[in-house]
């Protein structure tokens, strides 16, 4: 058996790769899985702060690759989940400090002990991205429903297919249902049809995400958040469960409501 390796990538920066990585990791851990996250954004590490583990770092991934510590020593245990670990990126080096073969070797060492390994890819299509996708069994592309993010996602999906790492799975992050209703935001269907890939999940824009990131507590831990619920559902889908997409419409729609009234008649 052994773990599956998921790489979370996007092309464009700032669309929510790190937030997604942290939340999927926490969601999977809360569902009883053994999970290690790996920050592949060397020089611009952030997964540690989003997970609230920045004060516990002793060693990083480059220390492992260059032999200054054992893999186990660089694995930081999560505060809440005892079977969730983070291997942080180095902050003072650059992407060339590790090679795709190093990533494959680290993941192969982790596989027997884990259920999931989640790699947070840097933005861009250069070395850091190549490192991040090298060991991947599943690649998740994050995009936002706006033109530049969709265009970059398409480019990344093309590269993933050319490298025979496909098919890519899509998460549409920060969908704003009220903008969609006004006709001022691409719909999830628009984005999925344009990119022609499988949709793994839709995460609504949720102002609670900012506050939860401020505290270093991923949003999936907040039971009242729609974004948190969306991430939990994506984690369930990764485990093979058939969970329907959230209804992000936020309202029933007048025709449906009337239809329901007629159907129920005097029964209720």
């Amino acid at each position: 058996m052994g773990a599956k390796v998921i790489t979370v990538t996007s092309g464009k920066g700032g669309v929510g790769k790190t937030t997604t990585t942290a939340n999927l990791a926490v969601a999977l851990a809360s569902q009883g899985k053994k999970v290690t996250c790996l920050d592949a954004d060397i020089g611009l590490r952030n997964l540690d702060v989003v997970m609230g583990l920045e004060n516990r770092i002793v060693y990083d991934i480059v220390d492992v690759v260059e032999g200054r510590c054992r893999l186990r020593q660089a694995m930081i245990r999560d505060k809440k989940f005892s079977e969730l670990y983070l291997i942080p990126a180095a902050q003072t080096r650059d992407k060339s400090a590790i090679a795709p073969s190093d990533m494959i070797r680290i993941c192969d060492d982790l596989r027997p002990e884990m259920d999931w390994i989640i790699i947070d890819s840097p933005a861009g299509i250069e070395r850091g991205f190549k490192n991040a996708i090298a060991p991947a069994d599943v690649i998740i592309v994050i995009t936002n429903p706006e033109v530049s993010a969709v265009r970059d996602a398409d480019r990344i999906i093309g590269i993933i297919e050319a490298e025979e790492k496909g098919p890519a799975h899509l998460i549409i992050n920060r969908l704003n249902p009220s903008l969609v209703r006004k006709g001022d935001m691409l719909t999830a269907d628009d984005v999925t049809n344009l990119l022609a890939v499988d949709l793994l999940g839709i995460v609504p824009e949720d102002e609670n995400v900012v506050a939860s990131t401020n505290r270093g507590q991923p949003i999936v831990l907040n039971d009242h958040s729609k974004a948190g619920q969306a991430f939990s559902n994506i984690a369930l889908r990764l485990n093979g469960e058939n969970v329907p997409l959230l209804n992000l419409d936020g309202r029933e729609g007048i025709f449906k409501a009337i239809g329901r009234l007629i159907k129920d008649g005097g029964k209720s």
């Binding site: 006004k182 935001m185 691409l186 719909t187 022609a196």
Partner: protein, 88 residues
Amino acid sequence: MSSFMDKLLNRSSSAESARQRLQLVLIHDRANLPPGQIELMKDELIRVISKYVDIDRNKAEIALENEGREQRLTMIIPISQGARRYKG
């Protein structure tokens, strides 16, 4: 409500223009073939094809099409009415 008003007034929404623009941009990105180069290629192809058969140049069309993530280049070249079988 405003999208309903937009439809009523036949005004297209900004999302619709994003969708249409992306559709074109992605087709050209995927093929790594910008629109201007397609026009150059069209002119060149028409010159080559005209050496062998009489064609209706003004009605020739070239397009990049996609089906899922598969891309194809199509060209429609009407042959002139009454063109002889061989030229020259």
